[in-house]
């Protein structure tokens, strides 16, 4: 049990470094979701079921969802701007 906890902590440290070093934002969302699931496992090992439930719903689902919504909206705005410029260029 302690070996599992130690291994999980080392895995969390490694994936935090991976998140921070990833440059593409869309790839970071996947790493963030994995990181959230690792945390949920860690909370189970630390005998904290309430917090683990919160972390599963929030850290692995709602947080990547929010980031994806923001990126989608920015891409949408980027498309609108590109279309607007294309139309202005045609005039």
């Amino acid at each position: 049990m302690m070996i599992l906890g130690a291994g999980l902590l080392v895995l969390i440290a490694i994936s935090a470094l991976v998140i921070v070093r990833t440059d593409d934002v869309t790839n970071q969302i996947l790493a963030l979701s994995f990181y959230g699931l690792l945390f949920a496992l860690l909370f189970f090992l630390f005998q904290a079921p309430d917090v683990a439930l919160s972390q599963i719903t929030v850290g692995a689902i709602a947080l990547p969802l929010m980031v994806m919504l923001a990126i989608t909206r920015m891409k949408h705005r980027g498309e609108l701007k590109a279309q607007g410029q294309a139309e202005k260029g045609h005039d």
């Binding site: 902590l9 470094l17 970071q28 919160s54 929030v58 947080l63 980031v67």
Partner: protein
């Protein structure tokens, strides 16, 4: 030293998050690094409250009086986890607005925000 591994991992996560904020080239990357920074406090709080051989503080199956881990620290973290995602949503709304007004997501290029 291995016995205190959670404390060292908490410091490592804190410094990783800070490194991400310092080095980021995309505002959304900055916000995600802030999330990593915040998760270091979860590890530290839980490590303080843990007791070897303790059960979870839910007495639906076990009799009250059995040795458990600390429930106060878990109560602090429960609301923290949910509120964090809403604050991240607010920060991302600011990022979206900065992108619309400035046209770029690189923090170094958002010159119109300089005083």
């Amino acid at each position: 030293m291995l016995a205190n591994l959670p404390y060292y991992v908490a410091a490592w996560l804190f410094l990783c998050g800070l490194y991400g904020i310092v080095r980021s080239r995309h505002l959304v990357h900055t916000v995600i690094s802030l999330t990593v920074l915040q998760s270091s406090t979860y590890v530290l709080l839980l490590a303080i409250g843990f007791r070897k051989g303790g059960y979870a503080p839910i007495f639906a199956d076990i009799a009250p009086g059995v040795i458990t881990v600390d429930p106060v620290v878990q109560a602090l973290m429960l609301t923290d986890v949910v509120v964090e995602v809403t604050v991240v949503a607010l920060l991302l709304a600011m990022v979206v607005k900065a992108f619309e007004k400035g046209g770029t997501t690189r923090p170094d290029d958002l010159r119109f925000m300089r005083g």
